[in-house]
Symmetry: C2
Subunit: 195 residues, 2 copies
DNA sequence: TGTAAGTGGAGCACTCTGCTCCGCTTATAA
DNA sequence: TTATAAGCGGAGCAGAGTGCTCCACTTACA
């Protein structure tokens, strides 16, 4: 693969991720994605023959991001557990993982490939997240009934875009809300361990 | 207005609300809305000449729902403050207010009526919510830096649909997450008052 | 029971979509 | 430097989906 082709491919994946996040929807037109990537439609189609191929690539990209964030914070856990724990949650929310999870059904319906997509999601490696949660429970940051899916659901909801509210009426309250979530988890951890 | 016309109008508003919530988007085709309401497209257009008219009606409908829930729980506050507080939050989330807030920008952009829509949102009566928060702060359920917009942002995020996750992989975790949010608010209330 | 009010769906004009084709440009190895 | 294969962009096509209107039909109700 020629170097310029590789660069274009990367541009496309990044543009697609941005747009999927902004619109919280996988159904962004190829024209729009190509234009954001600064590339012709033909180039987009050459690299990704259909929408499923593009989405798969974007999800893999995000997934690698999730794993990297978790590994990074786990490696600095002993330094300052509290900081590693809450830092990892903030950074996972910042990743903007929402469309990965909640755009899934639209994708599946649109493409008529429910089973394929589901299997794809299910095969994702949950071990890094399980390790993070294990550490969190152990240090009293998270309740013991917090499984990876509950945790993921929280991240997904918190990472949802609020374009109208944030842009027009109130400044971005996301960090504040994430801190409330973190405090809530710790409060429940105390309740479960003492009660 | 004839009785059957009135009934159709109500069906339409309800159908539109459902679809806006399910798709977290105001751009649902008139055909789809009409069909869900069990009504012809012409009937839909007769009652609501354009999309803005329909959205306005749906938002008013939701807004009345918000006020009703708050009034209801405030009136039963003294009976059991804790129950009234957390009950009101759960019920506000159940309302599914998300598209009202975060679909706003799409609507504004699509219709090219940003200012009109913004003014419309700003003129909404925030007093019921302010009274609820006042009581919450007073009883130590909410931190004093919780203003109505932060509170609303939390409700909006929690009420976001998670169609893919909930339908296919994990059972609905929303109640659990709402409880974490409530616990987080109380934990912060303690911190602010003592520190 | 007369009639004004209300109805639904076919159909029009239009926009936007995915996708291909092909003449042009450019990276790269010799 | 140059030959050439690899890669490129955008015009354009066929089709799907849209908002909206028209009008022959039905129905609530004075």
């Amino acid at each position: 693969m020629r170097a310029d082709a590789r660069a274009n491919r990367d541009e496309i994946v990044e543009a697609a991720l941005e747009l999927f996040q902004e619109q919280a929807d996988f159904n962004v037109s190829f024209r729009t994605i190509a234009s954001r990537a600064g590339v012709g439609v033909a180039t987009l189609h050459r690299h990704f023959p259909d929408r499923a191929a593009l989405i798969t690539e974007v999800i893999d990209h995000l997934d690698r991001g999730v794993t990297a964030i978790i590994e990074d914070h786990l490696s600095r856990w002993d330094e300052d557990p509290q900081r590693a724990w809450s830092g990892s949650i903030h950074r996972l929310v910042d990743l903007g993982i929402a469309p990965l999870a909640s755009g899934g059904s639209e994708f599946a319906v649109t493409e008529g490939k429910v089973d394929g997509f589901l299997q794809y999601m299910r095969q994702k490696d949950m071990r890094p997240m399980e390790r993070l949660l294990g550490k969190g429970v152990q240090h009293g940051f998270a309740p013991s009934d917090l499984d990876p899916y509950r945790f993921a659901a929280g991240i997904v909801l918190l990472s949802r875009p609020l374009p109208y509210l944030t842009a027009q009426i109130l400044p971005d309250q996301r960090e504040w809300l994430v801190d409330v979530y973190i405090d809530g988890l710790r409060a429940r951890a105390r309740d479960t361990s003492s009660g």
